[in-house]
C-alpha cells in the first residue's frame, strides 16, 4: 500500500464510483421496494461527477481538496435527499482531513467517518433506528473508532469497517422507516433493506479496496 496521499484518495474515490455504478440496479431495486426507485441512479450520477472531478485534479492535491471536490460534484449534479447529504459528508471529510498530507492512520479515517456521519445527522436530522444510511454509518464509525484505539494495518481496518456497515445495512430490514419517503409506509417497510444504508456500505468497501489497490 502506498502512502495514502491526496492522489491515492482520489484513485480510491474513482474505485468507489465504479463499485457504486456496478450496484446501480440493485440499489434502485432496494429503493423501489419502499421508495421511488432512484437511489442507484442518484448515486451513480453523483459518483460519475466525482470521477470527472477526480480526473481533473493533479497529483499534488491534498486529501482535503479531494474530498471537497467530491462534495462540489455532489452539490452540482445530484439533488434529491442524498445529494446534499453526501455533499455535507464529503465537505465534513475535507474539514476533518484539514491540512494533512496523508491519511495513513486508522485514526485519520475514524475521524473522517465520524465527521461524515455527524454532518449527515446534522443536515438530515435522522436518529439511529430511523432506517437511513446512518444505521449503517454509525455502527461503522463505532467499529473503526474501536480499531483506532487497538491499532493494526489501515487496509484491514477499512475493510472490516465496511463489513460492519454492510452487516448493519442488512439489519435495517427489521426497522420501520421514520425518515424519508419510506416513512409513509409505516410497518410495510419492515423486511426491506434500506437503500441508502446499503450504498453507504458499498462506498466504505470501495474506499477500503481502492486504498488497498493503490
Amino acid at each position: 500500500m502506498a502512502n495514502v496521499n491526496g492522489a491515492v484518495v482520489a484513485k480510491a474515490l474513482v474505485h468507489v464510483a465504479k463499485k457504486v455504478e456496478e450496484n446501480k440496479d440493485y440499489l434502485c431495486e432496494l429503493d423501489g421496494e419502499v421508495g421511488d426507485g432512484d437511489h442507484g441512479v442518484s448515486m451513480t450520477i453523483g459518483m460519475r461527477a466525482v470521477t470527472r472531478a477526480m480526473k481533473s485534479l493533479d497529483d499534488s492535491v491534498t486529501p482535503a481538496e479531494v474530498f471537497q471536490a467530491a462534495a462540489d460534484a455532489y452539490a452540482d449534479e445530484v439533488g434529491a435527499t442524498i445529494g446534499p447529504l453526501y455533499e455535507a459528508a464529503f465537505a465534513a471529510a475535507a474539514a476533518s482531513a484539514g491540512d494533512k498530507g496523508q491519511l495513513n492512520e486508522i485514526a485519520d479515517w475514524a475521524d473522517i467517518y465520524d465527521a461524515m456521519a455527524k454532518s449527515i445527522q446534522v443536515l438530515g436530522k435522522a436518529e439511529r433506528g430511523d432506517k437511513t444510511m446512518l444505521d449503517s454509518f454509525f455502527p461503522a464509525v463505532d467499529h473503526i473508532q474501536a480499531l483506532a484505539d487497538k491499532g493494526g494495518p489501515l487496509v484491514d481496518a477499512l475493510s472490516s469497517t465496511a463489513k460492519a456497515a454492510l452487516d448493519a445495512a442488512i439489519a435495517t430490514r427489521d426497522l420501520v422507516a421514520k425518515k424519508g419517503r419510506a416513512s409513509r409506509l409505516g410497518d410495510r417497510a419492515i423486511g426491506y433493506q434500506d437503500a441508502g444504508a446499503t450504498s453507504l456500505a458499498i462506498v466504505l468497501q470501495g474506499f477500503a479496496d481502492g486504498i488497498a489497490g493503490a
Binding site: 446501480k24 440496479d25 434502485c28 431495486e29 423501489g32 421496494e33 419502499v34 421508495g35 421511488d36 426507485g37 432512484d38 442507484g40 441512479v41 442518484s42 451513480t44 450520477i45 460519475r48 452539490a75 452540482d76 449534479e77 445530484v78 439533488g79 434529491a80 435527499t81 442524498i82 445529494g83 446534499p84 443536515l123 438530515g124 425518515k179 424519508g180 419517503r181 416513512s183 409513509r184 409506509l185 409505516g186 410495510r188
Partner: protein, 331 residues
C-alpha cells in the same frame, strides 16, 4: 424498456433542451437546469419559483408563464434539484418585490430549497416558502405537516399565480398560497408503476388484479394494496378519505381529476363522472374543474382527485385567472 430516449443518463438534459426550444415564446433558460418567464424580472411583481424532480410534467416547469410560476428548477428524474438552479431561478425572477418558493413536501426538496433560500436571503432577496402537503393518506391528520405534496399543487399554484399577477405583496401571496394549501386535499390510486429511465425496471410491481391506493407521484408504493375492482367503488373510497379529512359539505370547491401519466383521458372522464355524483350527493358545488394530466409520475397508470375548498378570495382568484404557461392555459 419502452422509452422515447437515447442514453437514459441524458434524458433530463435532452428533455430540458427540447423544453426550452419548444417553449421559447414563453420562457428562457437561466442556467443549465433552470428557467424563467421571458419577461422576468417583472418590476414590482412577486416572483414565484417552483421545482422538484423531473418526471412530473406539466408539473413543475410546465407551469412557468403568465398566471402561475415565474421560474423553475429541474431536478433529475424524481430527484429534487440541487440548490444551485433554484438560486439561479430566484435571481432571474426577482423584480424587487421578493420571491416565493412553493413545492411539495419531500425531504430532498425541503433540504435543497431551504439551502437556496438561505443563500438568496444572504444576497438580499426576500424569499418565503410555502410547502405543500395535500396528500391525505401519507400521514394521519394530527401529523398533517408530514404529508407530502401531490396533485393538489396544481390548484394551489393556480391561486398563487393569480394573486401574484394582481401585484400583491410577498406576504399576501404567501398568505393566499398557504390558505389554498390548507384547504386542499388529494388522494390517488395507481394501477401500475413507472420506470425510472436510468433504472430501467418498474419501481414496484403490481399483479394484474391489484391497485395501490394512496400512492404518490414517484411510482412508489402506496399506503395500501387492494384488489382491482370497478373504478366507481374505488373513487367512492378515495372521496370518503378526502371528505373525512376536511369538511367540504355545502362548500364551493375547485376540483382536479389528475391523470398520473399512463391512463387515457377517456378514463379520467369516467372518474370525473363519479366524482361529480359524489359532490352532488354532498351538496358540494364545483366552481372550477379540470380533468387532465397535470402532476404525473412518468407513465404510471392511475388517477388522483384533488378538492380545494373555496372562500370568496380563492374562488375569485381561480375562476377569474387568465393563465398562459408552457403546458397549461386558461382563457
Amino acid at each position: 424498456m419502452k422509452k422515447l430516449i437515447n442514453d437514459p443518463f441524458d434524458v433530463v438534459d435532452e428533455m430540458f433542451e427540447g423544453f426550452i426550444s419548444a417553449n421559447d415564446h414563453i420562457i428562457k433558460p437561466v442556467g443549465k437546469r433552470s428557467i424563467a418567464r421571458l419577461e422576468s424580472p417583472i418590476a414590482g411583481k412577486v416572483g414565484i419559483v417552483v421545482g422538484g424532480g423531473s418526471g412530473h410534467l406539466p408539473a413543475f416547469a410546465g407551469y412557468v408563464g403568465k398566471g402561475m410560476a415565474d421560474g423553475a428548477a429541474f431536478g433529475n428524474i424524481f430527484a429534487s434539484p440541487p440548490s444551485k438552479p433554484v438560486v439561479e431561478a430566484t435571481v432571474a425572477v426577482n423584480g424587487g418585490a421578493g420571491v416565493m418558493y412553493t413545492y411539495g413536501n419531500y425531504q430532498g426538496d425541503c433540504i435543497n430549497f431551504d439551502k437556496a433560500q438561505d443563500q438568496c436571503r444572504e444576497m438580499g432577496i426576500p424569499v418565503q416558502s410555502v410547502v405543500l402537503n395535500d396528500d391525505v393518506l401519507s400521514a394521519p391528520k394530527d401529523q398533517a405537516s408530514k404529508r407530502r405534496g401531490i396533485g393538489g399543487l396544481f390548484l394551489v399554484w393556480h391561486v398563487a399565480g393569480a394573486k401574484a399577477e394582481q401585484m400583491a405583496s410577498l406576504d399576501e401571496v404567501v398568505a393566499a398560497t398557504q390558505k389554498a394549501n390548507n384547504n386542499t386535499r388529494t388522494v390517488g390510486v395507481g394501477l401500475s408503476s413507472c420506470i425510472v429511465p436510468a433504472n430501467g425496471q418498474p419501481t414496484f410491481s403490481l399483479a394484474d388484479d391489484e391497485m395501490e391506493i394512496g400512492l404518490g407521484i414517484h411510482g412508489e408504493p402506496g399506503v395500501k394494496r387492494v384488489k382491482a375492482r370497478g373504478i366507481d367503488s374505488v373513487i367512492d373510497e378515495i372521496m370518503e378519505s378526502i371528505l373525512a379529512d376536511l369538511d367540504y359539505k355545502g362548500s364551493d370547491v375547485a376540483l382536479l381529476v389528475n391523470g398520473l401519466g399512463g391512463s387515457p383521458a377517456e378514463e379520467l372522464y369516467v372518474v370525473y363522472r363519479r366524482v361529480k355524483q359524489i359532490c352532488d350527493a354532498n351538496k358540494i358545488n364545483i366552481r372550477f374543474k379540470h380533468v387532465g394530466e397535470q402532476v404525473t409520475a412518468l407513465e404510471m397508470a392511475g388517477v388522483s382527485v384533488s378538492l380545494m375548498r373555496l372562500d370568496t378570495e380563492l374562488h375569485d382568484l381561480i375562476t377569474n385567472a387568465v393563465v398562459d404557461t408552457c403546458m397549461y392555459k386558461k382563457l
